[in-house]
């Protein structure tokens, strides 16, 4: 579903190497957790997938489409929520959702059904007519997720989705990720909150200084490092070296 092949990316004309030869495959129907300490290169990797950055080297395929040669086909398969969703302050929630749905060519019928469900679930039905500028951080994140799900993308990509969410909203986010995957679709999300990853993910990849240092199911990872305990101890072990 999502494949990084030898991806590298440097900032500031090559001075800061953010991602360094990343190889990673995310299978259809799984929830994949992309873990790593701050500054490991998670956001950079995700931005290359969704078309916000260009890789210096390597190839990314989404749903079989090369992001470089077929960017539109690749983007059509993605729903994306960035780490800090800066949405248009001067549009209302409804105007924003309609804009996104129009761009993805979601029919009126489908958008009504999906919207009604999501809006009620997130309890933002009273705010959809207000300007996004008046939304709280959590509401913006919910709206961004609603927009990302409005075309039911095969691949949902979330960058640090739990940051700044209250427990109830965080729970809803997790529910939706589970549901998305139950319908046979894929979730790829980055996080540094380990117990979320531990409970939610089928597989995780750990990245450090732009390099993938471990990847697999939790059991596989435990095995790899010869540790028995939680994901936390595995994480600490592999990121230590």
């Amino acid at each position: 579903m999502l494949r990084f092949q030898n991806i590298s990316k440097a900032y500031q004309k090559g001075k800061v190497k953010a991602v360094d030869g990343l190889d990673l495959t995310v299978n259809p129907g799984e929830i994949f957790g992309f873990l790593g300490p701050n500054g490991a290169g998670k956001t950079t990797s995700i931005k290359m997938v969704v078309g916000l950055l260009r890789q210096d080297e390597g190839k990314i395929t989404v749903n079989g489409h090369d992001t470089h040669s077929e960017p539109l086909r690749a983007k059509e398969s993605i729903g994306f929520v960035p780490d800090n969703p800066d949405l248009y302050d001067k549009l209302t929630g409804m105007e924003y959702i309609n804009f996104i749905a129009d761009v993805y060519q979601v029919s009126s019928f489908e958008r009504r059904q999906r919207l009604e469900r999501l809006v009620n679930m997130f309890e933002i039905s009273g705010a959809m007519g207000d300007l996004i500028g008046s939304f709280s951080h959590g509401m913006k994140q919910k709206l961004a997720l609603t927009a990302a799900l409005i075309h039911e993308p095969p691949l949902l990509i979330l960058d640090e989705p739990m940051v700044g969410l209250d427990p109830r909203s965080a729970h809803l986010f997790k529910e939706l990720m589970n549901e998305h995957c139950r319908q046979g679709r894929t979730v790829f999300f980055s996080t540094h909150i380990l117990d979320v990853a531990e409970r939610l993910c089928h597989r995780v990849g750990i990245i450090k200084k732009g390099k993938l240092i471990a990847c697999g199911t939790l059991d596989e990872l435990r095995h790899q490092v010869g540790q028995k305990g939680s994901l936390e101890s595995v994480f600490l072990e592999v990121t230590e070296q």
């Binding site: 969704v50 001067k90 209302t92 105007e95 309609n98 207000d130």
Partner: protein
């Protein structure tokens, strides 16, 4: 007092981005060509607006001088400057009080309420001097040419100009602070636009009423015998304009000083009133948390059913451009309203003033063999210039700012996005050319053919600079702004279309001169064809490059 001064200094620096500029240009000496380009653009922009005011004032002054009433021209244009100050002031005051985010920082500081209010007032007042200078300096030059202005007169004029925007601005401030207080956040932007347009219509209407009353009552004999003073008549609605006129043009210095004193005290009074109202209404409400919050519509299935309706991608993109632009008052004002207002204001007095002059203009245009063709070229040039001055395309990517990720991650190809941006700009250009065409039609009455040519030539000639402006902004956008004002004002890209427009205008002039032997119609048609071809080429080239330019744009954040 020291608190007020340091607040003023720091606000000045952040409002105009002075510190950033000092570091960049004076300390690091980076990209020193930028300030030069900005100065150049300011001169060209100011000169093109200014020349409109100069010629219309000159025309008026000639007519009025025959009646010995040239001073009334000063009154008229002082009124125009004050009208502009009132209208821009309404926008700027609302923005600075209700759309800026520094209040959260300022209010907890140990400052007095009036410190904050006075600082914000001064900042806006400083920006108001730009339109005042653009209107009044050309007017004074025109007046000087007809009547002559002594050195003392010039000194008086510059002191007077300091006071010209203060009173209308205080009015705008009081209006903004009291009216906006009771209005829901969501409706403020639109209210501001509507209010300023209503204001414009009201002022036009009042002026019109006034002038028709005047022509009804005034006896030709009274005018000839100088028994009536046009200055008082024109300025009756707003006495400060009369005082300002006398402060510039009075014959005795004593009278000048008296009128300056009037101006000074009225300005002081107006500022005092603003501070009082501001303290009570704005500051009191802010601290008391009296912001009105409207409960929004709840999106039940019925509402969703009604509102969640599919439309085409192209339409959605266009609508997005439109909404984001009009809902940001600063952008609307800077990029668009200024461009409409200035030409209207330049010829405003001519509509209601001495009607005889309009006829003489028509006569000149008709008598000279090339008259109509030249007038058409001037009208087209004005339209192209106004189009190049609006910053719609040249800050189009910059205005996306931290929201650029949205359009970058959507599955819409770059061509479609560029097309939407160009369509929006074209629609705006068409709209903003209407007032100019109306002015042309009324002043010269050139007939359908020349009107159409002026319109088409202006639009096509303005399109190429706009396209290149978008190209430039795609190539090096300014995305890291936090204050929306900086996206259009502290952005060098905004002037790029103008830089293209100037050589194009010059080439068109050369082309016209080369073709002048072939009659009056052929050169116009050839120019139109050439500009149309150029515009089509520019659009095609940009569309061909769009994918590449979009791909280059990285959202690093």
């Amino acid at each position: 007092m020291t608190a007020l001064l340091s607040l003023f200094r720091i606000s000045l620096q952040s409002y105009f981005g002075l510190s950033a500029m000092r570091i960049k240009y004076l300390k690091k000496k980076q990209q020193l060509w930028e300030p030069f380009l900005v100065v150049f653009a300011v001169i060209v922009g100011g000169a093109s607006f200014g020349s409109m005011f100069y010629f219309s004032a000159l025309q008026m002054a000639r007519g009025a001088a025959l009646l010995g009433q040239a001073d009334a021209v000063l009154t008229m244009y002082i009124l125009v400057a004050q009208m502009l100050a009132l209208m821009f002031g309404l926008f700027a005051m609302t923005s600075i009080f209700y759309f800026s985010n520094d209040l959260d920082i300022l209010v907890p500081l140990p400052l007095r309420a009036w410190h904050i209010l006075a600082t914000k007032f001064s900042l806006v007042n400083i920006t108001e001097y730009a339109p005042v200078v653009v209107v009044l300096v050309p007017t004074l030059l025109a007046y000087h040419r007809i009547v002559g202005l002594s050195l003392v007169g010039w000194v008086g004029a510059f002191i007077t100009m300091v006071f010209v925007p203060i009173i209308p601005l205080a009015l705008a401030g009081i209006l903004a602070v009291t009216v906006m207080r009771g209005v829901n956040r969501r409706h403020r932007d639109i209210l501001m636009v509507v209010a300023s347009l209503v204001l414009l219509v009201v002022i036009f209407y009042l002026q019109y009423q006034f002038m028709s009353d005047l022509t009804g009552q005034v006896d030709a004999e009274d005018i000839i015998n100088n028994r009536i003073d046009f200055v008082n008549v024109v300025g009756a609605a707003f006495p400060p304009a009369v005082w300002a006129t006398r402060a510039i043009a009075a014959e005795v210095t004593g009278e000048r000083l008296t009128n300056l004193a009037y101006l000074f005290f009225t300005a002081a009074l107006a500022i005092g009133a603003f501070l009082m109202v501001g303290q009570k209404v704005f500051y009191g409400g802010l601290v008391g948390g009296a912001e009105k919050v409207r409960r929004g519509v709840v999106y039940t299935s019925r509402v969703i059913e009604r509102q969640a309706v599919q439309s085409s991608t192209a339409k959605a993109l266009l609508l997005r451009e439109f909404r984001l632009f009009v809902r940001m008052p600063i952008w609307l004002m800077n990029g668009f309203l200024t461009v409409i207002l200035f030409p209207l204001m330049a010829f405003f007095p001519a509509f209601f003033g001495a009607t005889g002059d309009i006829n003489s203009l028509t006569a000149i245009a008709r008598q000279h063999p090339q008259g109509l063709a030249i007038a058409t070229l001037i009208a087209a040039g004005a339209i192209a210039m106004m189009t190049s001055l609006n910053t719609l395309t040249s800050t189009s990517i910059s205005r996306e700012g931290k929201h650029l990720w949205i359009i970058k991650s959507l599955p819409v190809d770059a061509k479609t996005q560029v097309r939407a941006k160009l369509c929006f700009a074209l629609a705006a250009a068409l709209l903003s050319s209407l007032p100019l065409i109306a002015v042309y039609a009324v002043l010269i009455n050139p007939g359908g053919f020349h009107l159409v040519i002026a319109f088409a030539l202006g639009i096509t000639a303005g399109l190429t600079p706009q396209v290149l402006g978008l190209w430039f902004d795609l190539w090096r956008p300014f995305l890291t702004w936090s204050n929306p004002q900086h996206a259009v004002k502290n952005n060098l890209n905004a002037v790029s279309p103008l830089i293209v427009m100037i050589p194009l205008g010059y080439l068109s002039y050369l082309g016209y001169m080369a073709l002048i032997a072939s009659g009056t119609t052929v050169p116009l048609l050839v120019l139109l064809a050439a500009h149309a071809a150029l515009a089509v080429t520019a659009v095609t080239a940009l569309l061909a490059k769009a994918d590449h330019l979009y791909a280059r744009l990285e959202v690093k954040g």
